[in-house]
Amino acid sequence: MERHYMDSKIKGVSTGTTILAVTFNGGVIIGSDSRASMGGNYVCSKTINKLIQVHDRIFCCIAGSLADAQAVTKTAKFQISLHSIQMESPPLVKAAASVMKELCYNNKEELQAGFITAGWDKKKGPQVYTVALGGMLLSLPFTIGGSGSTYIYGYTDAKYKPDMSREECLQFATNALALAMGRDNVSGGVAHLVVITEGGVEHVVIPGDKLPKFHDE
């Protein structure tokens, strides 16, 4: 609710958006819509990328002011890459989420962006972290965010199961995005999904007309 209220106060381009990240057995799937809007009326871009790769197996989903989100994720990418090369090993997802959190908390007066950090690392496997507007960091099995998320809390709470298979999880994420994009006017476009596992990263793009349809469509 808080994010929905905030969106209308965002000056400039915002990602009125739907983002989510869900862990499954062996990996994590993150997804988002692709609409960038200005003032709740004008669609700036129908094909914006809200899934930013900050390292080989770590992605961030962005919500809120696009400019703030891009600045934060780019700075985070810098810090995480430097950290990784100094440690001579891939970074932990928690470390990446913590970097985002530091940036959000220390600049909370100026920034208006929330993130979901998700990925795979050798220590804990697939993980999902949410970094809220003021800089709160929380680890969860799955999470949803953005203005569109308010319409799918019921669906995700009811339908999520721990330890799903990759296909089940893909279906769950696609359905959730489709439902949110169907009701939220500032979410739309195509559904971007990324499947992150130990073995690699796979992008899935589902154009608007190929999304699952529900009873009234």
């Binding site: 700075t75 990418k77 810098f78 810090q79 890459s81 430097l82 090369i85 100094q86 001579e88």
Partner: protein
């Protein structure tokens, strides 16, 4: 009056003694060799024998600067750590501002400027390291550069620094063949053969890192190095046999 007291002072015959003494420090360091192939770049270093109780994983002389560049150094390890760290930060900073990875020449120039600055400031001594910097630019061209304590840098096809660098360089000059550089295996073998000239007791004291086009740096493990060394020794035997007949 002694002209090696303060680094900022030239001697009457035009020398910067501190810089030359820094180069002497480099000559004491363990050997490093670099070879640039067509689709692969290789850096090899001599691993000094370490004390029994010491963990050899902590003695790293080849450092990655970014996904597409890495370096090996000869000289004062502590000085190298400072330079490598600054270079790593600069690599990321470059990515942040221009959204592209550094070119090998850019980061070499950056490292050289740092080194030069330290030859011209008060109260600081030059860095006692020479480095070999290798990698690929984003358009796929491979590069090998060498930097010196004075802050100069040059591009090379193959080079060596550190102890016995002269011997190794002469070996490279004699055995470097342009056609061989097409084959990744030949490039690796040339680097190992060059190091074997000066390293004691063979493959155990060699650390080798390779980078193929569009791949990240890979440090070869002892098994792989042994395979190359055996192949080299076999080739040597064949060559000797042929000479005799």
């Amino acid at each position: 009056m002694s002209y090696d007291r303060a680094i900022t002072v030239f001697s009457p015959d035009g020398h910067l003694f501190q810089v030359e003494y820094a180069q002497e420090a480099v000559k004491k360091g363990s050997t490093a060799v670099g070879v640039r192939g067509k689709k692969i770049v290789v850096l090899g270093v001599e691993k000094k024998s370490i004390a029994k109780l010491q963990d050899d994983r902590t003695v790293r002389k080849i450092c990655a600067l970014d996904d597409n560049v890495f370096l090996a150094f000869a000289g004062l390890t502590a000085d190298a750590r400072v330079v490598v760290n600054r270079a790593r930060v600069e690599c990321q900073s470059h990515r942040l501002t221009v959204e592209d990875p550094v070119t090998v020449e850019y980061i070499t120039r950056f490292i050289s400027s740092i080194k030069q600055r330290y030859t011209q400031s008060n109260g600081r001594r030059p860095f006692g390291i020479s480095s070999l910097i290798v990698g690929f630019d984003f358009d796929g061209t491979p590069h090998l550069y060498q930097t010196e304590p004075s802050g100069t840098y040059h591009a090379w096809k193959a080079n060596a620094i550190g102890r016995s660098a002269k011997t190794v360089r002469e070996f490279l000059e004699k055995h470097y063949k342009e056609e061989d550089m097409e084959s990744d295996t030949e490039v690796i073998k040339l680097a190992i053969r060059a190091l074997l000239e000066v390293v004691q007791s063979g493959g155990k004291n060699i650390e080798l890192a390779i980078m193929k086009q569009d791949e990240s740096m890979k440090i070869l493990d002892q098994e792989e190095i042994k395979k190359y060394v055996t192949a080299i020794e076999n080739e040597k035997e064949e060559a000797e046999k042929k000479k005799k007949t």
